[in-house]
Assembly symmetry: C2
Homo-oligomer: 324 residues x 2
């Protein structure tokens, strides 16, 4: 079958690899119906050092189940399923706590061991715990929207949850990429009264305004901090959704958070320490975030897919959907 393999920065190839097949009795194999290129895929595309091995790309997909192992009970051949970017058993302590990305037997898609979703098919470990069947056909109008539940919408929602977005409070979203825009949708959905977007792309900003953004800050660094302070009576925002992952985005986030507020880090971090540990202490700021347990959120977010659909709509340059 064909699959997407990245060898080093800038060197990504479509290659023929052995067909995906059942290896464990808890596995399923899905034929990929739709997959995505994620913002996090751009990091290796820019930075990956050659190591002689290719990386199987892709971790966001909807598929149709082609085969199941002997011990798979809930998932059936023919099911259309959402595949979260991490696989999980659904039964360990962490899964019960809703933190499927820390599942004791789980792991992530998009590597040589498990394979990637930017391919014709994919083996899904722990299929019963991992996959979420949706009762629709492959040609359903909401397919693109449902696809957001495999990563980007669940990730934006996680950002809003960890940043403690609350009814009537102020939030800022740092970054106007796909996750940032989903963070805006999530912040609005959880009741934020003021939503400040820090971004510079006119098309994304226009889209974000339809999702509920009340203010836009296109300055950077200290000027951005100053501008957010102005927009919030000098105090900063209760919730910061850091959707970039760079050192500068994190520094800005720490600068705009209100005393007693929370910063959620949801962009894969490309830095080793959290800055400003002293002001963070004196202002009782909370920092959290990490890989979103999207599996835990699918059920809650499913009724909101039309919003996700609007998010996916008209953004060829914002997020790329792959139809094998």
């Amino acid at each position: 079958m064909r699959a997407t393999i990245m060898y080093q920065a800038g060197d990504v190839r479509i290659e023929t690899i052995p067909d995906a097949r059942i290896q464990q009795p808890t596995d399923a194999v899905i034929r990929i119906v739709r997959a995505c290129i994620c913002g996090s895929d751009l990091w290796p595309f820019r930075l990956k050092q050659p190591d002689g091995k290719g990386q199987n790309m892709g971790h966001e997909a909807i598929g149709r189940v082609e085969a199941v192992g002997a011990d798979v009970r809930k998932i059936k051949v023919g099911d259309v399923v959402i595949m979260p970017f991490a696989y999980s058993d659904g039964s360990c302590d962490f899964c019960h706590e809703g933190l499927h990305t820390s599942c004791m037997h789980g792991g992530f898609f998009g590597n040589s061991e498990v394979g990637g979703a930017q391919a014709e098919a994919l083996r899904i470990p722990l299929a019963d715990g991992t996959l979420y069947p949706v009762p629709i056909g492959e040609d359903h109008a909401l397919m693109a929207s449902l696809l957001t539940l495999s990563d980007v919408m669940g990730t934006g929602h996680h950002a809003a949850v960890v940043a403690r977005v609350r009814e009537g409070k102020k939030a800022a979203v740092v970054g106007d990429g796909a996750v940032g825009l989903c963070g805006v949708i999530a912040a609005k959905r959880l009741g934020a009264e003021q939503i400040i977007l820090l971004g510079r792309h006119a098309d994304r900003i226009a889209l974000a305004k339809t999702f509920g953004v009340t203010d836009v800050v296109s300055e950077r660094g200290g000027e951005a901090v100053e501008r957010v302070r102005e927009l919030t009576g000098g105090m900063g925002v209760h919730s910061v959704l850091e959707c970039v992952g760079s050192e500068q985005a994190m520094a800005t986030s720490m600068g705009i958070v209100r005393a007693g507020g929370a910063v959620s880090r949801i962009g894969v971090p490309h830095y080793d320490v959290i800055p400003q540990a002293q002001p963070m202490f004196y202002h009782n700021v909370i920092v959290g975030g990490g890989p979103a347990p999207v599996r835990a959120y699918i059920e809650e977010l499913l009724p909101d897919v039309p919003d996700g659909y609007r998010a996916m709509d008209a953004r060829e340059s914002l997020k790329v959907m792959v139809q094998p």
Copy 2:
């Protein structure tokens, strides 16, 4: 009047300074009945550089009100009052949110501007918002216990709250000083099932065991991390109460926290960055903490003062109470 002034590391003097007096109509003046030397006072005692000015010491006290300004309504001359280590108006957004240490008109005691509580008397700004009257006499048996509500017990409670201690979950307390021991009391009070104390002082450990500590780890660094992992089935604890403030204590805390868990920093931090930003991300760890809004906690903790009393009991070497 006499007051405690620190000039530089190791150089602390009792001096005669102008009497405390009403300066603003919202002030009160209290005669100090009991005050404490705080663990945080030891940082300047060890590190303070000479700057030509003395620092007025002391921020934990119980007093009797001697005078009130014209606009003071709730506090009356003669009241016995608990004085939290920060003053606050009790009416701004932050105070309403229970974060009195970020009060928009507030500040901290124990400096040249406001004065310190290791003195015969002290001016209390914003007396109505700051002071908490208790209906007892100066010679009450629980005086020492009530004194813990001005800082150390509220601080231990804040550590447990921010670290999200929950019924039936696992907690670790890093540091066996007065705040650490109060953190143990608070973790027990909030229902932690396993409470691991990281400390090395036999007398404090013995006391901590009477408060509910289930395991003691006296190793340091990587060995301490390994030992806590062993005690928790390899997973670490849900809640870490970091009650020291050193870089090493913080590194240990990040090493022993469970995926999805929380670290609260409650020791005044003597480092500039939070380490291990990447594992913290991949394990969805939350870091928070800061100066405890003890004013917000007094009412909740007041019924528990007998436990505080046991904490204060028999610890001449653990926390020093000052009777002017």
